[in-house]
Symmetry: C2
Subunit: 222 residues, 2 copies
DNA sequence: CCTGGAATAAAACACTTGTTTGAATTATTG
DNA sequence: CAATAATTCAAACAAGTGTTTTATTCCAGG
């Protein structure tokens, strides 16, 4: 019989985990449609039937891989869970919180100079959304966005509306996400561009200053 | 025999053009991998063999469709060719040129409230680049980016380096492109968000003010 | 050791999909 | 009109792919 899908990670079979790891990596690389279960099984050193035995089918494996990537990413760097970061830094001035937000976001997206598996999976979801995207948004994106809006509100003049703050938040998110969303274009436009820790630092500083000047400058009258 | 690939548009066969139109639409919708030549032929009311007869194979049809979309887009709105817009507005003050740049970019990307076919094709290229991306960049993106950098330089204080201007330009492009690159996420985060002409107008104004305040504000010391 | 279920493996199945073939049809041209 | 080329079409091919089947191996618990 097929193994239960929600088996706790502790009693996971070895091939179960190997399949999951390979799936994350290859799905992130090629997206759902372009990856074959045979490629995953080969990478996981497992038989072709293993996917259906352990997960039911390819789609279920994809969902499991997405969740696995999200959990693994949070384990690797719990600080990156934005809602915790918010509490952690609640006492800091909003300028500082904005910087930490930007910096954390960028570090979450790039690792060893290239987008993380989770980031790549999410980017693929932008092109062909699946239920995994809805889950990710409800579980993480919505709270992160709310935190950003709050930071913006905290450093905006009184009377700033939620709608205005939302727009500013979008401009910040845009600057943070653009670099992985448009990576192929950026790389071709500026081949020397790198995403080393140092470069991410510079980038975070740029976005921070850019945003701070904008928010402190003119206010949208609308 | 197969029809020459570079047949001038004037003597294009009828099914040739129908295939191209259908290809643009469906490739834009689903990307290269997920669209089948059968789907295209059905939409074009042509036989399955028509693709190979008129274009050689699926990949060549894709390339042709990409070029077709680019040319058609330029024909539909020649003002949108940024390098022409630059000459056209060379006499305007840089603030005005920045606004026109942003506005034109947004209008180029959204049509009737949703991304244009060319924009969708380009977004797919972000996920799985093909030679079509390199062509697009050399033929259009590079010049557009250079124009933006020049605008930034024109409204920055003296002593602003190209590297700084490049960073500012990236922040502007990010804000312009984010809305179609991350559309599925934005729609789920803010379901009321629309991209009507009026909304694009507001958005352009926001990005314009945001950027202007940032550029006029602090300068990156790096 | 024996046994029964869990896990793995090899093979095959059913279906999709890009491509080709070869005949039929239509258009062009001398 | 005749003939030659261009185009369309139905059918089939070959390769790839998700999934299933069936048999075999592995391995705890009796």
């Amino acid at each position: 019989m097929t193994q239960a899908a929600s088996t706790p990670s502790t009693k996971m079979n070895s091939t179960h985990r190997r399949l999951l790891d390979a799936a994350v990596r290859i799905f992130a690389e090629r997206g759902f449609r372009r990856t074959t279960v045979r490629a995953i099984c080969e990478a996981a050193d497992a038989n072709v039937a293993a996917v259906n035995y352990h997960f039911g089918n390819k789609a279920a494996l994809y969902d499991a891989a997405f969740d696995h990537a999200r959990l693994r990413s949070n384990e690797a760097n719990p600080f990156v869970q934005m809602d915790e970061a918010r509490n952690f830094h609640a006492k800091q001035p909003p300028e500082r919180r904005l910087y930490l937000f930007i910096r954390t976001m960028l570090e979450h997206q790039f690792r060893d100079g290239k987008p993380t598996d989770l980031t790549r999976l999410m980017t693929h979801e932008m092109m062909q959304p699946t239920p995994a995207l809805d889950r990710l948004i409800e579980v993480s994106v919505r709270r992160v966005h709310a935190n950003l809006v709050q930071i913006i509100l905290d450093l905006s003049p009184k009377g700033t509306t939620d709608k205005q703050a939302h727009r500013y938040a979008m401009s910040v998110s845009a600057q943070c996400h653009f670099h992985h969303l448009a990576l192929p274009m950026i790389q071709r436009l500026e081949p020397t561009q790198r995403y080393t820790p140092k470069a991410l630092d510079d980038l975070a500083n740029h976005i921070h200053r850019f945003t701070l000047a904008a928010v402190r400058g003119a206010n949208d009258p609308v």
